[in-house]
Amino acid sequence: MPTAAELKREGIGKYLVVYLCILALAGLQFVIAYQNITASQMFRRMFSVALVEAGVAVLFFMHLWAEKRGFLLFVVIFAVFVLLSMQFGWTDSFRLIHCGGYCS
């Protein structure tokens, strides 16, 4: 844990930069919303920006970067594995939209 003197030296400069980056990325999502693109393109762009935004917030605002590497790997690997395993249903949603649920 950093000492009070170290914290005083550190200041809020780094966090202000991170905050402004996150704010800019959030603004970028609003710009993407007004682009004349298909829904799937919009989803891909917005999801990519949201992932970067969340990654920056987790690493710097939640200080995951400063934790032990073992813990960082535990959080990332566990979370990514479960999040990926939730994606099995997408093919079925495409089947429903293209065949109205009548094709196999």
């Binding site: 009070a4 905050y19 959030a26 919303a33 935004e53 917030a57 949603s93």
Partner: protein, 206 residues
């Protein structure tokens, strides 16, 4: 004391005091809660995505981004004020840490008020859990579920921030507790980063 007792004490003591990943127990518990809650929100968003993708007449009822932009700005800024609160607490500035924590809670209240105002506006336009004037009735159920779960977390966060802030000021809690409640608040902010594009921006009326 026998050698066996000494060995037993050493073993049980070791089991109780060893911290996984050298993280304080309360902080680790909060991280595990955050991981579990990530799964809850992800499941909600995946279910929402499934419905949106599989429904041809999905409504796009949002005409303005002003309200959601202001709400996003407030929540992102509250993460910065929370960070300042945790940092000030670690420096030992009790009054400063309490002030920043309460500013964060106030931002949470502002966010909740704007959110509820938006809900009332949509309800006033005829949107309920099961029907709306623009398209499939599934939209209301999906919208109210996802945003309702989020606003519940925000309100819980405001309550937690107030209690932890007051107890920290009263000397019952320390800087670590401010940091731990801060982790929860950052998580609430993080979830909003996914709710905004998928639930609001992708449903803008062009």
């Amino acid at each position: 004391m026998s050698q066996a007792d000494l060995t037993m004490q050493r073993h049980s003591g070791g089991m109780l005091t060893d911290r996984p990943f050298a993280i304080p127990t309360k902080k680790l518990a909060m991280w595990l809660f955050i991981i579990a809650d990530t799964m809850t929100f992800s499941a909600c968003l995946v279910a929402y995505g499934f419905l949106r993708n599989a429904t041809p007449d999905w409504p796009r009822p949002f005409h303005s981004i002003v309200n959601v932009a202001v709400m996003t700005f407030i929540l992102l800024t509250s993460s910065l004020t929370m960070l300042l609160g945790a940092q000030t607490a670690k420096r030992g500035d009790k009054a400063g840490a309490f002030r920043w924590t309460m500013i964060t809670a106030l931002a949470g209240v502002m966010f909740a008020v704007l959110h509820i105002r938006e809900w009332l506006g949509l309800i006033g336009e005829g949107m309920t859990l099961f029907k709306n004037p623009w398209g499939t009735g599934l939209f209301g159920a999906a919208f109210f579920s996802v945003t309702g779960l989020h606003i519940t977390h925000v309100i819980a966060g405001v309550i937690a921030l107030t209690i932890v802030g007051l107890r920290y000021k009263g000397g019952r809690y320390n800087a670590d507790d401010i940091e731990i409640v801060g982790l929860y608040w950052h998580f609430v902010d993080l979830v909003w980063m996914f709710v905004v594009p998928f639930v609001y921006l992708m449903n803008l009326a062009h």
